[in-house]
Symmetry: D2
Subunit: 141 residues, 4 copies
């Protein structure tokens, strides 16, 4: 069983682990054994267009990937390669921030599943994500 | 009908349009009416881990999104919001570069579909992507 | 606004509409404007193998499709073609029955989205589904 | 290495194995180590509506599942549970028959991947499918 302080330390390690996260700059909000919450503040460089303060879809997909990964890492204690990832874009993703909430759906012997909801600052669901992660022997896919 | 020079100009405009692409730095390789090819050189900041020169999965997902978007933009002449995106990670995505080849599968009245193959420098298939784009009245999803 | 009796009548009409449903034999359980519940009793002909009483994956996928379709039909009053469907198989799907609960996630001008959870008789989540449906001008895909 | 006669025998066994296939009645067309082709003749009971001779989407999804399964079974010699399945519906699926062509994309230690194209009698692409199958230790999902 993972206590909350240990889970939050693991989430922070997961965020600190990847050089790409220094470009995105996600912030750990909360973690327990089955749920992870990550915030992503808007910056102009994460934008879709010069004249609108909305996040680029590739940034949102990256946030989904990282949050799903993180909840699997927190739950299993290992870095599990992504097998596949699905991202449903429901609405534009506006500044000033997005909040991604990832939930572990099932942890199996060979793979784990996670669902992600991405909300805007007003709490509206802007994106849904779902992923499968290889928690077996570290095979990439 | 779109000639190749016009298609390549559209691809370049699509790449230049988004602030986020200045972080990723994709390069236009080729475009005609139904296929778009984009190259993404590796940089440390796009990496998954400090000790291995592999692209982060979120970067690969972003590349799939941008290449699929671009082929729809080239084919239809409009910027079409992503409805959903699926990304299958087959192998780790190594330096020094990835090449994404997006193909328009079907252009309908309300939405268009695109498939993407991402290859490494040795020509191995590392990731497959598939997306649906709203080519109707510009609804986000 | 759709009252519950009207919603349940629509669900029954949706089930009665398709010849294929006479093979599957799904049963309407419950419907309101945003949620539809359908039960599928096991029969040998829906099985995966001769020596085990489990539903075939194609049957489970068909149940996901029908439940998602139904919630969109109940919510919008129209028959909306499926754009795409994703099915995640978490566990084997055992006899004596499955219960599919479909939720409308978002109803847009061009598209609607639905999520489906399939539970076994003990209430365990065996399958998750997610679909996009064309609620625009009836384009098939 | 699998010879074609052995592959075709395996495909036939895979079709004969499931009680549900007696409802669908798919027919083996061709198999080698990496590609499987299956035909599905239309019958009224597989229909979407009483007044049009088109296949139900759940039937098409079932055909995608079975063809993808079959190519993995032929390639690996084992029955591999479906992890997840994605189905993109491009056009209505008309009588008198559908032909599904499944291709093994990658056979890994833990997972295998397959792509499926479903064509109508005129050779038009009506549906695309993509699936992940657990070729590890037989875990259901």
């Amino acid at each position: 069983v993972t206590g909350v302080p240990e889970a939050e330390a693991r989430l922070q390690r997961e965020i600190d682990r990847c050089p790409y996260h220094e470009l995105l700059r996600p912030e750990a909000v909360q973690a327990d054994g089955e749920v992870v919450v990550v915030r992503l503040p808007f910056r102009r460089e994460l934008g879709l267009a010069r004249d609108r303060d909305h996040f680029h879809g590739g940034v949102v997909a990256g946030l989904v990937d990282l949050a799903a990964h993180a909840v699997v890492a927190v739950a299993t204690g290992t870095v599990a390669p992504t097998v596949d990832l699905r991202v449903d874009f429901l609405r534009p993703a506006p500044a000033p921030e997005l909040v991604a909430r990832a939930t572990l759906i099932r942890q199996g012997r060979s793979f784990s599943r996670a669902d992600v909801e991405v909300l805007d600052h007003a709490g509206r669901l802007v994106t849904q994500g779902r992923g499968v992660f290889s928690t077996g022997r570290g095979e990439p896919g």
